[in-house]
Symmetry: none
DNA sequence: CATGAATGAGAGTTCATTCAT
DNA sequence: GATGAATGAACTCTCATTCAT
């Protein structure tokens, strides 16, 4: 029946159009990431992004309402990759301790290997000051960050840590990773003649030990 | 002999002149700090600094070669205050463990209470990228940062930690403080329902325990 | 005969098509008016008009060659409403003087009650400079404006004014109304502590008096 | 005494500097007026003004805080010229009626000869909508407009009109002039085959007649 | 030493319009 | 007929910096 196509044609058309729109949006976003990676936050301008994407400045606004939204999208996408990286590190049949180590390590590695993503993660605080994302978007992004640490938190609980302690340790881990990489990227760690990897490993060991101590008592 | 003075007079004159120059430079720097504290990194412009100092913009360049250098000087001065704060926390006759806690706590408190100084400390990496300070200045600043942590390092050694471990732990402490405050200022800690103070205390406890374990064995 | 229809069908088809075109054009124009009434001249953009009409920007150009032409059409339509308003104010059996007053008053009231229409009328001279309408369209619009004042002109003649004087007085009336409303809308009348209505009434009285004086003397 | 110069030197210096600043500001303003005269309100941009003044865009902001302020200054200066024109038309020893005619005529002539100044006067209502001048400036400008009509008002009173009527007539005169010129500049007067001059003369005659009628009766 | 003036580059954003599909 | 994409020019305004005086 030829009329069948007339039923679905509009849908298909709009689907195709939407897909193309998404593709181009992704292209713009990729350009934005490139610019950002190459020039950093300060060097990133709408003009630069447009140029790198092969567009005129005005065209960008067909895909993003403004500059902040691009940053938001960039950050969101970064967090997706972070989550993917963490998930990939978690194999089936690992012991809780292994999962703790694997999850934490993957988290650390992601930001060690992608320093600009760390930038992005802290963009919202240009000079330690929260930034202009919509609260809704901010919540969503926060949630994804939490998600990336969920395996660590779960592992701690399974090892035997109480919920409160597990959450606190997860938070502390995040802080430690952030601080370590911050110092590392600013060369403040080299000045102490230290190696971020080694320090992180030591932190992990201590954490595993604390978890074990909080775990099943001798009589269990 | 009045002619004798003609030998030394130029020196004295130049010394006086230099002293006045320093004084004015300090005045400009104070103005810069005020602006920076009030408006943050984004709101700080040469115009603002000049105005607050009672100068016109061009005059500033008689004292600092550029904006970045002002930030450098501001950071240097901030580190002096940090060192002063740490020193003030260390009383005579404290046990090594008390000195460890007091020194670390003073360090943490300084940046907790002066978030703008933390900004400054990380400005050089706007977005995690090392900034344009001269290597010489950078070294000097790093040295002062190390100084502020020296009491912690010394205490760890006195408790009995080997030199290498003491240095590593000091570095890790710095990272932890930085990470904790970073998360705190960006609201990322609240989202985990945690309190930076409590987390820091827990970290300190664990560190003290590690130091004690590394300390003098029962028979030593 | 069905084949007969093949003669006329194309005509009918094209007639139908043209009618639909007109209808859509009217729809766009209505949208433009809505936007214009709501947002004024400054806030009116092609995007807004298109959106309010349920179109994309490009579609508008199928109905109007450009923005100015939309304004032209809007003005034309405004003048139709003006004429309708004036016509409605003229009842049968009124005396010439009553018709003078009623017609002039309706004219004044229309623009007093629809300030946006006054904007439109003067848009063509954004800043007093004649605008880009085609001479033909301009003539047509002028004609409709004249039409709206024709009852006044006729009444003056019937009262007894010579043709030249009647035309001059009609023109002067138009100027007075325009000036009064201009001043009123820009707040320049309030600053004199005056009321446009009262001033207009006074002008009307004086005009009626002049008309009467020019009219048939008692013995003439 | 050489020290005398040290007393006054700073003053003289600052006076000279201020004078030069004023001169350059006037130069910028003149450029703005030129642009405005040549291109109208729509075509006037900061870039254009700067270019015509021989400056880069940023330099303009050393003389005016923003675009609106330039318009304000332009309008202010226009009103000064208007006042000067009116004052120049008033000779000593004129009868009140002559002063009425001379003042009104000068007012009319100024805007007839300088249509752009009329634009400016109505700039505040881009499309009949009051504009963004500070209330203080707006008041000052309004006052100068009132000043320009003061001779007319005074003359009406001297002829014998009560204060209220004199004010109303003055306002009506302003409206009439505005409307007449508005119509004239937009070609709406030509379409009636009328001449603004003649219409204005007729209005003046009628006004003079009304004033005389309101004046002292023969026996009064 | 300090000023006041000016530069020049650049920022984000808006808009009427065009055109292939 | 209408869409969606894109253009290109324009907009106001800010800033660190330079330099003759």
């Amino acid at each position: 029946m030829t009329t069948t196509s007339s039923d679905t044609a509009p849908d298909r058309r709009s689907a195709r159009l939407q897909a193309m729109h998404e593709a181009r949006r992704a292209h713009v976003l990729a350009a934005a990431r490139e610019v950002f990676m190459a020039l950093g936050l300060e060097g990133t301008s709408m003009r630069e992004i447009a140029q790198r994407a092969g567009y005129t400045p005005g065209a960008i606004y067909g895909y993003f309402p403004g500059k902040e939204d691009i940053y938001g999208a960039l950050l969101g996408e970064s967090l997706e990759r972070l989550n993917a990286g963490v998930a990939a590190a978690l194999a089936d049949g690992q012991s809780p301790v292994d999962r703790l180590r694997a999850g934490a390590r993957a988290f650390f590695d992601f930001y060690r290997d992608n320093p600009r993503d760390l930038d992005l993660g802290f963009y919202l605080f240009q000079g330690m000051k929260p930034r202009g994302l919509t609260p809704a978007l901010d919540d969503a992004l926060n949630a994804r960050l939490r998600d990336a640490l969920q395996p660590v938190r779960d592992a701690l609980r399974e090892i035997g840590m109480p919920a409160g302690a597990a959450l606190a340790e997860t938070t502390a881990l995040l802080a430690h990773v952030a601080g370590l990489l911050l110092l590392s990227h600013t060369g403040r760690i080299r000045m102490f003649g230290q190696d971020p990897e080694a320090l992180f490993d030591a932190y992990l060991d201590a954490l595993a030990a604390r978890a074990a101590a909080a775990g099943p008592g001798p009589a269990e």
